[in-house]
């Protein structure tokens, strides 16, 4: 019965999904505006990596998982208002503005 429900996920995939859930949970605690921004950023980042990273590139995925865990821990702190710091680093790599 368990096998027929949904796709079988590897341990790593489960970790990624659990992190994604964690980020979305953490975003709930922020203000509506920040939350939306965090959600769209997190969502695009996860989707980008899901598409771009080779699924056999375990070392890199493990690095991303470790990095995401640290970022999530920071985001969980009530003092952290949003992901703006992350956003800056992402936008710098994508389209350098300054």
């Amino acid at each position: 019965m368990g096998a027929s429900r949904g796709p079988r996920l590897s341990g790593m995939q489960k970790q990624v999904l659990s992190l994604y859930r964690g980020f979305l949970r953490a975003a709930r605690a922020k203000s509506a505006e920040d939350r939306q921004q965090i959600e769209s950023l997190v969502s695009s980042e996860f989707r980008r990596n899901a598409k771009e990273v080779d699924r056999k590139n375990f070392l890199y995925i493990e690095y991303l998982l470790r990095r995401a865990k640290k970022q999530l821990d920071q985001l969980r702190s009530p003092d952290v208002v949003g992901l703006s710091a992350l956003n800056v680093s992402f936008s710098q790599t994508k389209h350098p503005t300054n």
Binding site: G2, P7, Q13, R21, R25, S43, F46, A50
Partner: protein, 142 residues
């Protein structure tokens, strides 16, 4: 067989004017029906009883409709697309990240908290609705 007869008894309860017998029957059925028995004990009008029973029976459908709505919104499905209780999220074009988003959206809509283990087992609208009913019930009992 046993459950079928219990259900049919429950269906006819509003037409019986025997409160003692009613409560006895209800306690033997599921916990969702116990809520109904509380309502009967308080309200004296038979019309109210019938309406309460309708709510109890249509809850399943309402939940499913709500789930369908959220799934549509989350996956940005066009209104003409068909979403049935048996629709698999995957066949609606959802990947595992979308499924996480759907479950998170359902959590907020219903004010529940879905555990990670069970959320990974959800793959259809009906499964989601069943789990939600279970969790809402648990929350009401707690």
């Amino acid at each position: 067989m046993a459950s079928a007869s219990a259900a049919s008894l429950c269906r006819f309860q509003p037409f019986q004017n025997q409160p003692t017998k009613t409560s006895g029957l209800v306690t033997r059925t599921s916990s969702s029906l116990q809520l109904v028995s509380n309502g009967w004990a308080k309200s004296g009008f038979s019309s109210l009883r019938t309406s309460r029973l309708q709510i109890c029976c249509s809850a399943k459908h309402e939940t499913v409709q709500k789930v369908v709505e959220i799934v549509r919104k989350q996956l940005a499905l066009p209104p003409e697309s068909e979403v049935t209780p048996d629709s698999k999220f995957a066949s609606l074009g959802a990947d595992s990240l979308d499924t996480v988003e759907i479950v998170m959206g359902l959590e907020e809509e219903f004010g529940i908290s879905v555990e990670e283990e069970s959320s990974q087992n959800i793959s259809t609208v009906q499964e989601a609705a069943d789990l939600i009913e279970k969790l809402v019930e648990k929350k009401a009992a707690a």
